[in-house]
């Protein structure tokens, strides 16, 4: 197991990757990516049981599904730094002929990705299907998924939430990134989500919270707690509060940086706030 300091260094480096990737192509989604950096770093380096290499079926290992595919920068950075594909390939993000499409896809054969996402609200259904396949295969591993909070406005989620509880899909840990922001503003202004915890509980889920999703220790502890709650007849939901844009001060606490790239000067400020630790790609 890596030391906490190593993981913190990794998180800082991932933040550098994120802002550099979106700056280079002047497009992409830094806000949610920065907010979920601790989650991805913890999941892929401390929590999930992973085999060497990559195969689509993923039998005998934990699997992760990203439903809010627009936060591809953090996903790609963490996958590359976990060894799924060459780090230099981060240079190709959103460029023509790249495996690193704007939103993640299996179509170009990028190792680590098992489903396309981007059109919102579809990931939980896919995660449930993969969880059912684990059960059919008598594979005791866990399915993890991540969802934006604004994404819960898509109705398909509630079909999936109903199914997972009703059919006791208890090898599934679905995390909601509760950053309270979406493209047009605060979630509670655009389309109020209300009490997300009570809603999941009413559907029959075991719900827990990570109150500071940008505190690496808290995220690790929360994910370990969630894992201990699997296999008990209920799907597990983590409501994880994060700050969109966390780690780059001018991107924090606003929806403005949901899908906008920094200019040259802003990049320098962002990088100064996140000094190089493990080496830039």
């Amino acid at each position: 197991m890596p030391q906490l300091k190593e993981l913190q260094d990794l998180a800082t480096q991932v933040r550098r990757d994120i802002v550099r990737m979106v700056h280079k192509v002047n497009s992409g989604h830094p806000g949610g990516s920065l907010g979920c950096t601790e989650f991805f770093v913890a999941l892929y380096n401390e929590i999930m049981e992973l085999k060497e290499g990559f195969d689509m079926n993923g039998i005998g290992e934990d699997l992760f599904f990203l439903s809010n595919g627009h936060i591809s920068p953090v996903y790609y950075s963490v996958l590359a730094r976990r060894g799924y594909f060459p780090l230099e390939e981060l240079n190709t993000f959103r460029l023509i002929d790249s495996r690193l499409q704007g939103h993640p896809t299996t179509h170009e054969g990028l190792p680590g990705v098992r489903i396309a996402s981007g059109s919102l609200g579809q990931g939980m259904s896919v995660a449930i299907g993969a969880a059912l396949a684990k059960k059919l295969n008598n594979d005791p591993h866990i399915i993890y998924s991540l969802h934006g909070d604004g994404e819960l406005q898509e109705g398909q989620n509630w079909e999936a939430i109903m199914f997972a509880a009703g059919k006791k899909v208890d090898n599934l840990i679905a995390t909601v990134d509760r950053n309270g922001q979406q493209i047009d503003g605060a979630t509670e202004d655009v389309m109020p989500l209300g009490d997300v915890r009570t809603k999941f509980e009413a559907f029959g889920w075991d719900v827990m919270e990570i109150e500071n999703g940008n505190d690496l220790e808290a995220v690790i502890a929360g994910l370990k707690e969630a894992k201990s709650r699997t296999g008990k007849g209920k799907p597990v939901c983590i409501i994880m509060t994060t700050v969109m844009g966390h780690g780059v001060d001018f991107m924090m606490h606003t929806h403005a940086w949901h899908g906008k790239a920094p200019n040259d000067e802003q990049l320098e400020v962002a990088l100064a706030q996140n000094p190089e630790t493990l080496g830039d790609y």
């Binding site: 689509m56 079926n57 993923g58 039998i59 699997l63 599904f65 896809t105 299996t106 179509h107 098992r114 489903i115 396309a116 996402s117 981007g118 059109s119 579809q122 990931g123 939980m124 259904s125 896919v126 995660a127 449930i128 299907g129 993969a130 969880a131 059912l132 396949a133 684990k134 059919l136 295969n137 594979d139 109705g155 398909q156 079909e159 999936a160 109903m162 199914f163 009703g166 059919k167």
Partner: protein, 318 residues
């Protein structure tokens, strides 16, 4: 004219159910999903014999498509079941992103296609599904003609790697395909050789085309009848070869003329061998309530409509 014997009227959806029963016994990777229409899809026997490989998702088709995509990750071959309308139009983006673009090995099995669903009316009678599905890159689109062919197609698609749309229907129709005929995806079937006109038909309109060909023979017109059970990939070679001989073509399908088999045939011929064509299909309209026979008559989808189209296209022949 080659004679075809109706072995006893049956519904193509029961062919799907029979195919699923056989797959349940022979292929442990096949799993079935259904959105509250088990009785309509005729899969109770599969469920009774393989309860652990069946997933009832309730009235939630979008979720069903996503779960099916997820089940492929782990090696399973999911067959989703609901009406054609709810298998396509209702869930187009789920199929597009989670299944087609993601290259998932899901079999989308759709009953009650077209106007022959009957009395339920236009809300349930999709006439656009072939178009929707054939436009998706990588999607195979199959519309078998009778019970035996639907059963064989169901079994065949389990062996095919990649997403498939399998379309069938509600009414009992003539069952004339030999029970032991193997289903070859993408391979057109020559049902009757002729010299004056080519009739390319799919689904329920294949039997109607055979009746039309017989009537035409009595008028001295020799019609070639080809069963195009696979609309994508289309057996272009078989169609081109036939029209080079006959010089004109009628396409026949229980679908809108926009987006259906007829358009695929027209495109093929426009590129390779421009040929006068007549379209037996619905004319950019919704359906309505009625009996299947009444609707096929009113919307111009029966053997009389095919016969009329043949006479019209013969006029255009050079």
């Amino acid at each position: 004219m080659k004679k075809y014997i109706d072995q006893g009227k049956n519904d193509t959806r029961s062919g799907y159910g029979a195919g699923m029963t056989e797959l349940g016994r022979t292929n442990p990777k096949v799993v079935a999903l259904c959105a509250d229409l088990v009785g309509s899809l005729k899969i109770q026997e599969f469920i009774d014999e393989n309860p652990e490989r069946f997933f009832q998702v309730g009235i939630a088709e979008a979720n069903m498509m996503g779960i099916a995509a997820g089940l492929t990750i782990g090696g399973y071959i999911p067959f989703t079941g609901t009406f054609a309308n709810f298998s396509t139009g209702r869930v187009y983006d789920q199929i597009r992103q989670s299944i087609a673009y993601s290259g998932k090995n899901v079999k989308i099995c759709a009953s009650h296609a077209g106007v022959t669903l009957g009395e339920d009316g236009a809300t349930h009678q999709i006439l656009e599904d072939i178009g929707l599905m054939k436009m998706l890159p990588g999607m195979t689109v199959i519309n078998p003609c009778d019970f035996n062919q639907t059963k064989a197609a169901t079994i065949a698609i389990a062996e095919h790697q990649g997403p498939v749309y399998l379309r069938f229907g509600r009414p009992k129709v003539a069952n004339f395909t030999p029970a032991d005929q193997k289903f070859e995806i993408g391979k057109a079937l020559m049902l009757n050789e002729g010299t004056d006109v080519t009739i390319v038909a799919t689904g329920h309109l294949v039997w109607e085309s055979l009746i039309a060909a017989e009537n035409l023979e009595n008028q001295g017109i020799s019609a070639e009848v080809i069963n195009i059970h696979t609309i994508k990939p289309l057996d272009e070679e078989a169609i081109i070869k036939s029209v080079k001989k006959t010089g004109c073509v009628v396409s026949a399908e229980e679908h809108n003329f926009l987006g259906g088999l007829g358009e695929s045939v027209a495109r093929t011929l426009a590129i390779h061998h421009p040929t006068p064509q007549a379209f037996v299909a619905t004319q950019d309209t919704f359906g309505e309530s009625g009996t299947p026979a009444q609707l096929m008559e009113k919307y111009g989808l029966n053997n009389k409509a095919i016969e009329k189209a043949v006479l019209e296209v013969l006029e255009k022949k050079a």
